[in-house]
Each structure stands twice: as C-alpha cells, then as structure tokens.
Amino acid sequence: MSGNILASNPYNRLRAIKDRLASIAVTLGGIGVIVAILLIFIYLFYVVLPLFKPAEVVDRGQWDLRATGVSLMSVDEQNEVLFLMKHNGDATFIRLADQKVLKSLPAPVPARFSVESTSNPDWLLTVTRDGGLLIAHQVYKQRFDAQGKRTIEPHLETPFGDTPLEVLDSAQEIVQAAWAMNEDEASVALLGKDQRLHYIRLNISENMFTEELELEQEQWTLPGRFETAAIQSLQISLDGRWLYVIDHDGEILPWDMSAPENPTQNNRVHLPGQAGVTSSRMLLGGVSLLVGADNGRIYQLFPVRTRGNDYQLQLIRDFPGLDDAVVGIYPEQRRKGFVAVSQRGQAALYNATADRLVRRFDVQEDAIQAITLPPRADAFYLLNAQGRLHGWQVHNEHPEISWSALWEKVWYEGYDQPEWVWQSSASNNDFEPKFSLTPLAFGTLKGALYAMIFAIPLAIMGAIFTAHFMAPGMRKSVKPIIEIMEALPTVILGFLAGLWFAPWVEHHLSSIFGLLILLPVGVLLFAWLWQYMPDRWRDRGQAGWQGLVLIPVIVVLVGLAVGLGDEMQNWFFGGDFRRWLTQEMGVSYDQRNALVVGFAMGFAVIPTIFTIAEDAIFSVPKALSSGSLALGASPWQTLMRVVLPTASPGIFSALMIGFGRAVGETMIVLMATGNTPVMDLSAFSGFRTLSANIAVEMPESELYSTHYRVLFLAALVLFLFTFLVNTAAETVRQRLRNKYSSL
C-alpha cells in the first residue's frame, strides 16, 4: 500500500529508495557489528589452533653422496651445508643444493673415530689412532655479496691447535668415548681396550699475552674394570658431573664425578622388562639421558635429588611408538625434543617435556650410517649404509604442548617429583619451558573464591534489604551509590589494595578478624536495644531506614575493632599478629595475599551481584508479597517463604555473573598479589591468575611462538569460561523475566 503511494511521484520514489537504502545500511551495519564480535572468538581460536596440529614431515628427496665410513654428520642452520666426518678423521662440507664439495679437510692425524659433545654438536672430539685427542669446532660464516646474495663459508676450526692432546700414558687403543664441552671446561670419558675407564677434565683458559686458548688437563681413572664388549656406550652430562656407562643388556651405571679423584658409583638402573639397549643420547641441556631399547621404546632418565640430599638416577618416562629396536636417537638443538629411528626404518619425532609422540613416519632405510637434525629442527637427514643421503622437511612448530604439559603434573628436569609449574622463559637457551596452566587456573579460582566469600553475604543481604525493606527515599540514593561503586576503575581498587590496604592488613590482622565477629554481634545488640527507643525514633527504624541508622553504629564498631585488635595484638601476640602467625604457627605470610585480593575484588563484584539480585527481588510481583502479608505473615516470613524462592534463579544468576567478573579481573590481582604461581589455598599467600599472567607476559612474548599461543589459549579459556557462565546466567534471567510477566 505504502509502496503505491511512494511510487506515485519522483520525490516519493526518492523517499522509497532512501528507505530501502537505510534498511540495507542498518542491516549491514548491524550484522557487521555482530560479526565483529564473533571475530574475537574466531581469531582467538585461529591463533590457538596450531598448538594442537600434528607435525608435518615431507620427503625432500635422496642424493647419492657415495659417502662411506662416516661417523658424524651435521647440517648448518640454513639447511644449506652438510658436514660429514669419517672414522679416519677426514672431513668434508657439501652443499646440499647441488652436492658440490665445498671443502675437503683431510685428517691432520689418522683418527679412530669422533664424537659430538653433549648438547653442543658443533664441537667434535676426535680420538686419534695413537690415543690422542683433537678438538674441532664447526663454524659457518655467512657472507653477503654486493647483490645481497648470501653464501655460507663453512670451516672446521681447531681452537686448541692441530696437535693431538696426549692423554693416556701408553699408546692405548680407545674403544668408547663421550665428552661434554661448556664455556670453561670440557669433560671427557674414555674407555680403553684394557677395560679401564678414564675421566679427563680439560680446563680452558685464555693466555693473557697471546690471547690464545689453552687447555690444562687433569686425569683420573675409575676403579674397577669395564667389560668393553658389554658396554653399548658412554654418556656424560653437560656439566661433566654424571658419567653414564650403558650396557647392552639394559643396565645403566651412573658415576658421580663431582669429586673426580674419588668417583662414586650411584644406583644402578635396569630398563624394565629385560629390555636391551640399542642406542643412547643426552637430551638438550645435558641433564636427561635418552636410552633406546630393543623393544622400540625410548627411556628418559635423569638424576633426582632424594631426601638425604644425594642423587639417584631415576627412570622418568618412556616413549612408545616404534615397533622394533631403536637404533638411532638424535636430540633437537633448541628444544627438548628428539627424533628416533628404528631398525626396520620407522622414525618418530618426540617431545620429552610434553611426553608426546609428535609424528611418526617411515624412512624406509634399514642400515643407517648417521642421522642429524639441523639447529632449527626444521629438517631431518639420514645417511644410509650405501652412502645415500635422504632428507625430509619438518614442520614442527609447537611440540612442547600436549594435554599433559598444560594440565597434568610433569616431572621436569631438576625437580624432585612431578609438579605443576608455570615458568615460561629463562635466560639460557637450553631451558625447559614449563607451560602448566593448572597453577594459573588454580590461582584464578582461588582469587574468585575469596572475592565471593567476601562479596556474597554483603551483596545478597544488601540486595534483599534494598529491594524488600528499604524506604523508597533511601533506595533512590543507595542505588546510584552502588552504581558508582561498579564504575570505579579496578586499577584504583588494585592500587589501594596493594599500596594501602595490604600493609594495613599486615599490621592489623587481628582487627580484621575481630571485625568479623564484632560487626554482626554489635549490630544485633544495637537492634535489640533499638526496641526500647522512644516510639517516634523507633518507627523510623521500622519504616526501612535501618540502613541509615546503622551507619554511625558501624563506624563506631569498626573503630572499636581496630582499637581492640591492636590491644589484642599487644597482649596476646607479642604486638604483632602477623609475626606470631609466621613464627609460632609456621604460616607463611605474603603481604599481598588472597585475603587482600578477596576484599578488593569482592569490592569490585559486590555492585554486580547487588544490582542483578536487587533487580530480581524487586521485580517479584507485588501481588505475591501483598498476599502473604495479608495472610498475616511477617515481612521477614514473606521474604523467606515467598519472595526469595521466586527470585532465587535471579539471585543465582547474579552470583554467576559476579563470579565471571571475578575470574576475569586483571588489574586488582596484578597489583594486590605477588603474582607468584604457587598452589595453596591459604588466605595469606599470593597467587597468579590467568589474566594477570597474560598482562605480565604478553608484551614480552615473541610473535607466534609457543609461549604467545599458550597465552592466547589462556585468553580463550577465560573467554569461553566467562561467556558460558554469563550465557547460562542470562538464560536463567530471561526465563525468570518471562515467569514474572506471566504471574
């Protein structure tokens, strides 16, 4: 109809077009805004998702290098240059792109074999035929020419000279060796054919005049004889303290070399189920020993401190996934991950901390000369017995993350037992990141819990009084005050809590507890006495002005509690309740603790709960309460039997929304707790919440790193949690509203 009128002349047609355009614009705008809101959820999810994607391994092809007799292989950071070292000590650098030999370095002295250093595979130790040692270091220099094209110049340096170190007295044949190189010393373990195990420490010092590096060696021989044929390998920890002698039959013997002149043999460990050892390696950091067994499992072990303050080698976890004997293990150089290859050509990527098999793939090789992972662990290379190199590309961005790493107790290196720990970064790069969200989630719930303990009674009782008993005149001024309370920025609450309230509480702890008792008792006493007031006064109290009447009373009670509390401190607790707590009761006390947060965050959620609960109670149809009162019930009885049961869903949703707010609150917890991710329920200790953790660590986290994504995961968890709680609460409220309107 209106369409006809509008179409009748050009002006009206224009109006019609405008109308249509407005309709389209508003619809688009409205939907756009709603989509934008949805985008938050989608984007968070999009960032988090790669954490849970499995790794990808892509075959890059094979190259026939005809290299035989190879004992060591490695690849540079850019995946461009391959390094091969033969048993006889000859070294070659080969460009991977065209298999051209870039540099060929014949051994300065005929060699028997070479080993990589624990956790520092760039450092090589060559054992010469006549029992000497030669240390070499792979260096890859990048050079840019005029066009900005990059070339890599590989080099094998011998920082301590080309002459082998003479370590053993006689020209003794060495059959096994292990060594660990760190900044100021190297530790070497050598097993001679005479079944003797030698331990050598090389102290590195710089000559003050020539600036050349010098080695100073000390040497010890371990007691007893070692059956050379029975020993699968030797491994040594990065600090040189632990020397592991690993037998083929699954027995691992740790030697404590902290006092090398007096080496002590620690507890012997047998692999479970009669498994035999087929390979072994130290994990990044040189603390964990990885042992590959003939049953296809890899076992992780490290020394654990016992009660008596000595160490015991302990089996920490094992990694299944391969079907037959593990013949090669190679650790990543920047993460606690490794790759393992089985006898029949299966390979698997693992992450030790996350206890996770990241990816399994077939290499289809059964005789292996050498395997390696480049420093970035973005590829994997295998040299088979025929001298054919096989390469794979690896996309393995976030192996550190698994369900157990995020939520379960994990036995980290250097810990006495499995624990929940959040410690995302440290200064050294062989650090084991600890991404357990459990202590943070615990802290979040703990903070919310203490806030609710403080807020629920005040908010609900306050709401009941305001909605049901309060005089309208007073209600008019109370409601804006509560609204102001809700609007107060949390940064101000947090600042007051941290800088003013926390020190105050520390000095007046007994007053706080005194107040909890004194306040209700005092109010009740006053109420009882009120009855005997002159009638004129008393009626005011009856008419819903009790709240106002009580204000001076409460001021007096608070003053009394503070004064009495201080006196009590003086008489019973030696003047300081907090000191008495820590010294006599053994309770640890942080100045910024859950109690303080409870008050401050309680303060922040009271108005939220109050407003919604008050609304629910106030909107209970008057017919209900009037009916009850008409039947002779007292106002209190009406409230308890009629009003509250009707309004209870609304009150419940108020609590949920308040809880949701407490869970997500950031500034208060950031400022009023010490932000240490500890897990205990004590009111006197601090904690760290998910939100505060994001605020603290997000600015420093590297874009798209695992840490970054885990922080996004924390945000997503917060988002989902509050969204679900709020939606549930909102649905309950909607239902309630419908119920009221039908009543």
Binding site: I5, D19, L21, A22, T27, G29, G30, G32, I34, I37, Y43, P457, L458, A459, M461, G462, F465, F469, P480, E483, A487, L488, T490, V491, F495, L499, H507, L519, V523, L524, W528, W530, G547, V549, N570, G574, D576, S634, W636, Q637, L639, I657, R661, G664, T666, L670, S691, I694, A695, M698, F712, A715, L718, F719, T722, F723, N726, T727, T731, Q734
Partner: protein, 556 residues
C-alpha cells in the same frame, strides 16, 4: 506470655537489621574509599611545615634532619627489641615517623624512619627552605648566599631574598626557552629529517632513486641542517647563560651545598608562609599537576601527557563506537526479525560486557596490532621496516580495542532507549505516511538520543578507567611526544601514548621510588575517580530524566 526476645527473633527482626547492616557496610565502604582517595590525593599539594629534628643514633651520637613528616605509624616494641633497640619493658608500641628529608643526591635516600623516643628536639626554623628541582627530587636546607660564576655575593636578609627571586626567575625563563628550542623546534626538525630518510628509502625500494631525487633530498636536508645548526647555537648560548648563577645552601647536617639555579623548579619557605600564601602555593602546585609534564621518572611534576592521552584516546574511541553501537542497536530493535536468532544475539551482546577486558587486549594485540598493523606496514610503510609504524601498539589500535570493549555498553543502552519509546509514536509517524527510515530518523532517533548519550558517557567512563587491555595495545609509561602536535599530519594515530590508569599502575608498582611517588599516585587516582564519578552521575541523571519523560509520554 511470649518471651519478647523470642518473638523478636521469630519475626525475623534481627535478620532485617543484619541485612540493613550489609547495605550500610557497602555504602560506607564506597564513601570511605572516596574519602580516602580525596583526602590523600588533595592533601599532597598543601605545603607542610619543615621540621628540624635532633635525632639520637644508636651509637649515642646525634644527627640533625630537616624535612617534612609524611607518615606516622605504631611499631610493636617487640620487633624493635629483636632488632637490638633498647625499649623499656612496659612499652608495647613505639611511634615512628617517616621524614621526607630529600637531598637524595647527597645522602642516597629521600626518606628516613625516625623512632619517637630517640627524637631529642624538634623545631621549625623560619628560614628552612624547600627547593623543588628538575632532577634528584626535593632539596631541604638553609640559604646562605648566592654565587655568581662561583663567587660569593655576600648578600643578606632582604637583598638575598630579592636576588634569589630574580636569579631563579631568570633561570626559569632560560629553562623554558631552552626547552622550547629542544622540544618544539629541534623536535620538529628531527621529525622532518626522519621523513626525508623514509622518503629516500621509499624511493630506493621503488627503484626511483634518481640523481634528481637525490639532489632534491640533499638540498632539503641541507636546509634542515642549517636550521638545526642555528638552533643549536641559540640553545648553546642560552645554556651558557644559565650556567652562571648558583645558590649556596647549608644542609641540616652542616654541609655546604651549591645548587645551580637552572635546576630549581620552585622554592618556598613553608614555615613562614601565611595561609593565603599556602593557598596560592596549593593552587600553583595543583595547576602544575594537571598541566605539566612528569619529572623524575613520573614521581614528580605533572601528568598532563597522561590526561591528554586518555582524553584523545577516549575521543577517538567514541567516534568509532557510537555510530556502530547505535546502528547495531537499531538493527536489533527496529529492523531484525524478532526471532530466536535476535534473542541469541542479544544475549551474546549482553555477555560480551562480561568478558574479561584482558581478553579484548589479547585480541587487539593479535588482530589489530600484529595482523592488520603488520599488513599495513608492509603495504604502505615498507620504508620504515623493520621498525614498525602501525605494527606496534599505538593510539589507533588502543582506541579500536576499547571501542570493541565498550560496544556492548552502547548497544545495550541504546536498545533500552529504543524499547522505551511508546509504540504509538512510531505508529503515528507511519500512519501519517512517513517511511520507516523517516520515522526512524525524525522521531525515534531524536527521542532515543539521550539514551545514546547515556551509552556513550558510560562507554567513555569505562574506557577512561580501563587499563589491562591498554597495557597490550599501546600505552607506555613515558611517551616522548604527544599524539597531537604541530608536525603534519598533526594527529599521529601510530604513536604510543600515556594513560591515567596505566600511570597509576606504573608509578605505584613499577617505580623505583614508590614511597616518593605515592602522593602523586593518590592525586592521579583522585583525578581519575572524579572524572569517572562525574561521568557516571551525568549518565544517571540523563537516564532518570529520560525515564520520566517517557513515563509522561505514555500517560498522555
């Protein structure tokens, strides 16, 4: 006969009283908090007397302190005894006071805790002087003389006061001039230079770096260099001028100290100030606080950049959030089909108000800063890379993040306003032949405009106090330049800025000298609270008037 106590109890009277007590406690808490902040925040600028304290040290010797009492507290005697203090057995609590003694450059600390029993004598010397400095905090001492080029002038009494005034005024004028040259003029040249560098790099990237371009750039640079050299010379002359005069002081412990006049911000002798002078001093300090830049790692001076940053961020945010919020509300209320979907959307929008603000910050950082900002940098500012332009937190991203955060506030408030407009008005308009758009534009929206206002005010109040998301998307503790200045394009959306709320967090918790910063944090908090309470009261007022108007409309 019924026991009156029992009847009283059974009627629920005590419970009602307890409930009333809960309301009273809530009201008292909020009032107490507001009073605490106002008292602490407002008292900071009032000049306090300077005390000279004779203090007995533990080894028996005495020292003399000069300073202001900033705090007092009771210490349990037992703690002091444990620390080896001789306290009589019958004493339970010992009072100690915190004296702000300043002179950090000399003694290494600004504050001293003094135990009451060990204070031998206190007096208020009339000639004790407080000097506020550009660096190293306050100085407390007695003025002895004025030095000119290191020579004592042997001035006394009135002459000394006059000379002091003249010299300090001269130094302050010079300081202002130097600051102007350094900040505004040289700052402008640096900005131009950086633009030239980027221009050159841009040409380099585009492959259009011809010799003409190079020459042109070189010429422009030459002009700038010449201007720079000129300015630097002018500055050096001023600097040289400001180096002549110095003040000779005696500190409380008898040392003679020379202060160049150029470090002096303000000096006063609080012990001889009359009430009027104190009031004047108070307002001068207050004005400095709101209009000046911070000094001393934000622990002194003013907070103008923080106020400015907050205001400009809030303005940009309102410009973004209001139209979108209103459009979304109009869509939900007027255009969308009122079915299940709209109900779900409404619930979702309501709930977004309850999503933790830090989540918005994380989203803003990931999506706006890294994803969109990074792309903008690559497309439009490749010359500045690897230094990010929009690929790092800044004003625009902070405003957008907060706009998203406050969107639900505006939507909910506008929707409420729309829903309260009586149906009759819409129908009347439609019946007279207006189209839906015309009805909306001419009758519905004007009537709902106070509701939109309310929504916007609430959004502004929320944004002004929000800190957590801003920490991730562009707020810094000290911004070298304001986001709005005299260099084209004048409004720099990519710049980082300061914010009142973050200022409170940073100075209160990250500052190396929290004790010295505390009064200023209270003052900042007070300012923020005043702004937010005022905005909220305004919103409440508008809303109440609006409700009354609708009520009267419905009755007609």
């Amino acid at each position: 006969m019924v026991n009156p106590m029992r009847q009283w109890w059974r009627q629920g009277e005590p419970w009602i009283w307890l409930n009333a007590a809960a309301v009273a406690v809530c009201v008292l808490m909020i009032l107490g908090l507001l009073m605490l902040i106002s008292a602490r925040g407002m008292s900071h600028f009032w000049p306090r007397p300077v005390l000279q304290v004779e203090y007995q040290q533990r080894d028996g010797g005495t020292v003399r302190f000069l300073g202001e009492v900033t705090d007092r507290e009771q210490v349990p005697a037992q703690i002091l005894r444990d620390n080896g203090e001789a306290v009589p057995e019958d004493v339970l609590q010992v009072e100690r006071l915190l004296l702000k003694t300043g002179n950090r450059k000399l003694t290494g600390k600004d504050f001293n805790w003094l135990l009451e029993p060990r204070i031998m004598a206190v007096d208020m010397p009339a000639d004790a002087m407080v000097v506020e400095r550009h660096e190293w905090g306050n100085f407390y001492g007695f003025l002895l003389d004025i030095l000119q080029d290191g020579q004592r002038q042997h001035l006394q009494g009135e002459a000394l006061t006059e000379a002091l005034k003249a010299k300090v005024e001269l130094a302050q004028t010079l300081y202002e001039q130097i600051k102007h040259i350094e900040k505004v003029e040289i700052g402008g040249i640096n900005y131009e230079m950086e633009r030239l560098r980027l221009k050159k790099r841009r040409h380099e990237l585009d492959g259009t770096l011809t010799s003409e371009v190079l020459q042109q750039l070189a010429e422009e640079k030459k002009v700038l260099d010449a201007r720079y050299a000129e300015l630097e010379k002018a500055r050096n002359v001023l600097l040289e001028k400001s180096n002549h005069d110095a003040l000779l002081f005696r500190t409380a412990d008898g040392r003679e100290v020379t202060l160049p006049t150029k470090v002096v911000v303000r000096y006063y002798q609080p012990n001889t100030m009359g009430f009027g002078q104190k009031v004047r001093h108070y307002f001068v300090k207050l004005w400095e606080f709101v209009s000046d830049e911070p000094r001393e790692a934000n622990t002194e001076g003013g907070i103008f950049p923080a106020i400015f940053g907050t205001v400009i961020m809030v303005i940009i945010m309102s410009i973004i959030v209001t139209p979108f919020g209103v459009v979304a509300a109009v869509y939900l209320r007027e255009y969308a089909h009122q079915g299940l979907l709209v109900r779900i959307i409404r619930i979702a929008v309501n709930n977004l108000a309850g999503v933790p603000s830090i989540v918005y910050g994380v989203f803003g950082l990931g999506f706006f800063v890294y994803a969109i900002g990074g792309t903008i940098d690559q497309l439009f500012f490749p010359e500045a890379l690897p230094a990010p332009t929009f690929g790092t937190g800044g004003l625009l991203w902070a405003s957008l993040t907060l706009a998203l955060l406050t969107l639900p506030v505006v939507i909910v408030s506008t929707e409420e306003g729309l829903s309260r407009i009586p149906k009759a008005i819409r129908e009347g308009s439609l019946a007279l032949g207006a189209t839906k758009a015309e009805t909306l534009w001419r009758t519905v929206l004007p009537m709902a405009s106070p509701a939109m206002m309310t929504g916007m005010i609430l959004a502004v109040a929320r944004a002004a106090g929000e800190v957590a998301p801003l920490m991730l998307v562009g707020v810094v503790k000290l911004a070298p330049t304001l986001p709005l200045d005299g260099n084209a394009p004048f409004l720099h959306l990519d710049r980082k800025f300061m914010h009142l709320g973050f200022h409170i967090y940073d100075v209160g918790f990250q500052s190396p000298n929290v004790e010295a910063a505390r009064p200023l944090v209270y003052a900042t908090a007070f300012l923020l609270v005043v702004v937010i309470v005022a905005l909220n009261l305004l919103a409440i007022y508008i809303r109440n008037r609006l409700r009354e108007r609708y009520r009267s409309l419905e009755q007609h």
